[in-house]
């Protein structure tokens, strides 16, 4: 009954809905058979969940594996591309968007997905992040936000909340965090959404919308790090922190009725912006036309 209609990806994007419930064992068709498993992440880490969401989004859109490039920077999230059977590239710390910009310029027909951690995208790569959004080049940026530097052991990152302890903030953190999605909106990105690894179907749907978007699209995937920041602050196990994501997050609609004070300690999920802005590589094609006319 529920699978009678043939799946139409374009309709799915129009309605904002992917095929659901999807077929089983989707992941296996996209994981690399020549790569060693289990993956490198700690038991219970949310990064694997984000990877699953990316796989299902790609599958839902019925994209060709050859047309997808998955590019990452450094850190726990940087280890994501090696496991999936796309064109994958693990670049230097913070630079993934810049590498992806070059690739997208010469292969505009490819879907270039960039996965970054919060430190990767917003500290060392903050400059590339805002400029990729401003330039509106057709990349899909997925920032996996776990509020810390996990791989190096729980130092404070640009998204660490005020007051929590970190390996480099033993007396409590005093810097104000970056709201990633709001930052991307301000930098001019045409599509910005945020969800969590608990709300994985919503996350996968946002990722699908972001991939289908012509211009720069950002999805912030909120997760947790129970082995570093969680341990230092005694926030419990992976399931405990997963439950916090469930309890502390609210949809955007509800957040609009809340005061600034109330919003401070919650994770707001939803599509923050979805607007049409001319995409960079398409604009550049016009430049080529103009230059050729002038030369001729």
């Amino acid at each position: 009954m529920r699978r009678q209609q043939p799946f139409d990806p374009s309709a799915a994007l129009r309605t904002g809905r992917l095929r659901a419930p999807h077929e089983s064992r989707v992941h296996e068709r996209y994981l690399r058979h020549s790569k060693k498993f289990p993956n490198v992440w700690c038991a219970g880490c949310g990064i694997g969940i984000v990877l699953g969401a990316i796989i299902r989004a790609v599958d839902g859109l019925q994209l060709d594996k050859n047309d997808i490039a998955l590019i990452s920077g450094i850190g726990c999230t940087g280890r994501m591309p090696v496991y999936v059977d796309f064109n994958t590239m693990h670049t230097t710390h913070g630079r993934a968007l810049a590498f992806a910009t070059g690739l997208k310029m010469v292969r505009p027909e490819m879907k270039v997905i960039v996965v970054m951690g919060d430190g990767d995208a917003l500290a060392i790569g903050g400059n590339h992040f805002i400029h990729a959004a401003r330039r509106n080049i057709g990349l899909t940026a997925i920032v996996v936000n776990n509020f810390t530097y996990g791989m190096t052991g729980g130092q404070y990152s640009p998204t660490t909340p005020i007051g929590v302890q970190a390996a480099t903030a033993p007396y409590g953190h005093i810097e104000r965090p970056f709201p990633i999605a709001e930052l991307a909106v301000a930098a001019g990105a045409p599509f910005v959404a945020r969800s969590t690894v608990y709300h994985v179907r919503e996350l996968e749907q946002y990722i699908a919308q972001a991939i289908a978007k012509e211009g720069f699209a950002l999805v912030e995937a909120v997760t947790y790090c129970h082995t570093t920041l969680g341990r230092i602050n005694r926030w419990g196990t992976a399931p405990d922190m997963m439950r916090r994501l469930k309890e502390q997050s609210i949809p955007l609609k509800r957040a609009k009725e809340m005061s600034e004070e109330e919003k401070r300690n919650v994770i707001i999920r939803g599509v923050f912006v979805d607007r049409d802005i001319p995409e960079y590589t398409q604009l550049y094609d016009q430049i080529i036309e103009r230059a050729r006319e002038e030369a001729a």
């Binding site: 038991a43 949310g46 400029h131």
Partner: protein, 512 residues
């Protein structure tokens, strides 16, 4: 579009779904992928799963499964999946899932053979259409070194440039911003030099010949990703028009202060090719050569210019485009599943297939095995490390470019490169007029250092004069291969050229 609509539609779907008896799904766990994090056990709404004695998940109560798939969707390790148990009356459900698969694999097959790996993806029309000739025809054209570099790049097949404005290299970017789109290429001004080199590496992975140009401060920023290009063996050309440093230094003053940085700027042991031109025409030729080396040996190549050569104008006659040798990366003939982008044998330079052509593989800055996957094993790291040095060392006869003049009957040798070679040439002519026997060795390839050439040339001679626009960098290499007491340095690092008189004085002083 928003989450609420999704919830509504899912609810609607649930209403039409026929009531079905439990279990509705069959749960499977891969025990060797499960890390025992407990997420699925904790959140399973009906308590199907439990953690076994070793912490790994076991399906304790399969009869309770509602096929909600929470566990499959949230397992970070892909260690669990749920298959539907369809009610006997259900229709059409089984076949639908399988129907998706063939269309995905069949949509785009990789090219049959030979074609993969050709780096002409961006400009299919280029092969048929002749490049517009840059020179003004017979008699040549008055041209700046930076312009010759830009034209050389286009002649070599460069179709992507990313850069950031910096004196004295900005002209290269300005010219290419105009010229590249005319030939179907692309130009982008990035947010900094780090992004610029990252973008050209990305473009090269996409199959375009790519270049960036900068000067000292920007060259310092690029070091990280030069190492990445070495590690991943992705061809690209980095132009450094040297200016007086350290730090901001003096932007419009010349220098040869980046010689050692070009060799050792990025961390870790690595080979590198560095070329240094001394005239406008040579800048054109060596830019073409830089692209050819980078493609032939799958390596980044640095073109080390200096402010004098970059801003100097000379009348040059550029070669006709069809006479220029253009090297393309060798393509592969193996099918995608056999392709190893970092294969150590039999070739020292394994073929590189651009992204998007059916050869899906992994590129990483970590030490990797032949497939490109990260590795900690010495027996996989060592052969790779040996190969990247071997591919340069075995081809020195191709890579080492230099000019010799009058070495046979000389007693003094002058070794110079870049703009300083112009002063040296002048000084040698003056010395010869005075009856001195002076030989000249002009190095165009400065890294790898032409040890054997220098050693051979200097063996018979009494003295070697090495002028440089720095406080002694390449001379350290000369001193390493020639007896030290023979070597005389003529150094200058104040932002001015080494004068012919200074070099002449050094030749004369020793002759006395």
């Amino acid at each position: 579009m928003d989450a609420a609509t999704v919830v509504e539609t899912v609810k609607a779907e649930k209403r039409v779904r026929p009531k079905q008896r439990l279990p509705r799904g069959r749960v499977t766990v891969f025990p060797n992928w499960c890390k025992g994090c407990g997420l699925c056990v904790e959140f399973c709404p009906t308590g199907v799963l439990e953690q076994g004695p070793d912490g790994r998940v076991v399906v304790a109560h399969p009869e309770k499964c509602t096929a909600c798939r929470w566990c499959e969707l949230h397992c970070p390790d892909f260690a669990i999946f749920v298959t539907d148990i369809e009610p006997p009356s259900s229709q059409g459900g089984a076949g639908e899932g399988g129907a998706m698969t063939p269309s995905q694999t069949a949509k785009k097959l990789p090219p049959a053979s030979g074609g993969a790996g050709e780096r002409s993806a961006m400009t299919p029309s280029q092969t048929a259409k002749k490049l517009p000739l840059a020179s003004g025809g017979p008699g040549g054209v008055l041209m700046q070194g930076d312009a010759a570099c830009a034209e050389g790049a286009i002649a070599a097949g460069c179709r992507f440039f990313a850069g950031y404005p910096i004196t004295p290299a900005t002209e290269i970017a300005e010219i290419l911003a105009r010229r590249l789109p005319q030939v179907g290429g692309k130009f982008i001004q990035m947010e900094d030099e780090i992004a610029s080199i990252a973008a050209i590496i990305g473009a090269s992975v996409g199959g375009a010949k790519a270049m960036t140009a900068t000067s000292g401060p920007g060259f310092s920023l690029m070091q990280e990703n030069i190492g990445y290009a070495v590690m991943t063996e992705i061809p690209c050309v980095v132009v450094d028009v040297q200016r007086l440093g350290p730090s901001t230094g003096r932007p419009t003053s010349p220098s040869q202060g980046d010689v050692m940085q070009a060799r050792w700027g990025t961390h870790g042991d690595h080979p590198i090719i560095v070329l240094s031109p001394s005239s406008v025409r040579e800048t054109f030729d060596l830019t073409v050569q830089a692209f050819n080396f980078s493609e032939r040996y799958r390596t980044p190549v640095i073109l080390l210019m200096d402010e004098i050569v970059g801003h100097m104008r000379e009348r040059v006659e550029l070669p006709a485009p069809d006479t220029i040798e253009r090297v393309e990366l060798p393509g592969t003939t193996v099918p995608p599943e056999w392709y190893k982008p970092f294969e150590n044998f039999p070739s020292d330079v394994p073929p590189l297939v651009p992204f998007g052509e059916g050869y899906r593989y992994h590129i990483t800055g970590l030490h990797h095995d032949e497939r490109g996957y990260p590795t900690n094993r010495l027996d996989e790291v060592q052969p790779w490390l040996e190969r990247i040095f071997r591919k340069i060392e075995r081809n020195l006869s191709d890579i080492l470019l230099y000019d010799e003049d009058g070495i046979e009957d000389a007693d003094t040798l002058v070794i110079a490169y870049g703009a300083t070679a112009r002063s040296a040439r002048h000084a040698i002519e003056m010395a010869r007029e005075r009856g001195r026997k002076v030989g000249f060795l002009k190095l165009k390839t400065i890294w790898p250092f032409a040890e054997e050439v220098v050693e051979h040339a200097a063996a018979r001679l009494h003295r070697v004069v090495v002028p440089e626009m720095n406080l002694g960098q390449l001379v350290l290499e000369v001193e390493r291969v020639v007896e030290r007491h023979k070597v005389h340095r003529v150094t200058r690092a104040g932002g001015e050229m080494v004068q012919p008189g200074e070099i002449l004085a050094a030749i004369e002083e020793w002759a006395r």
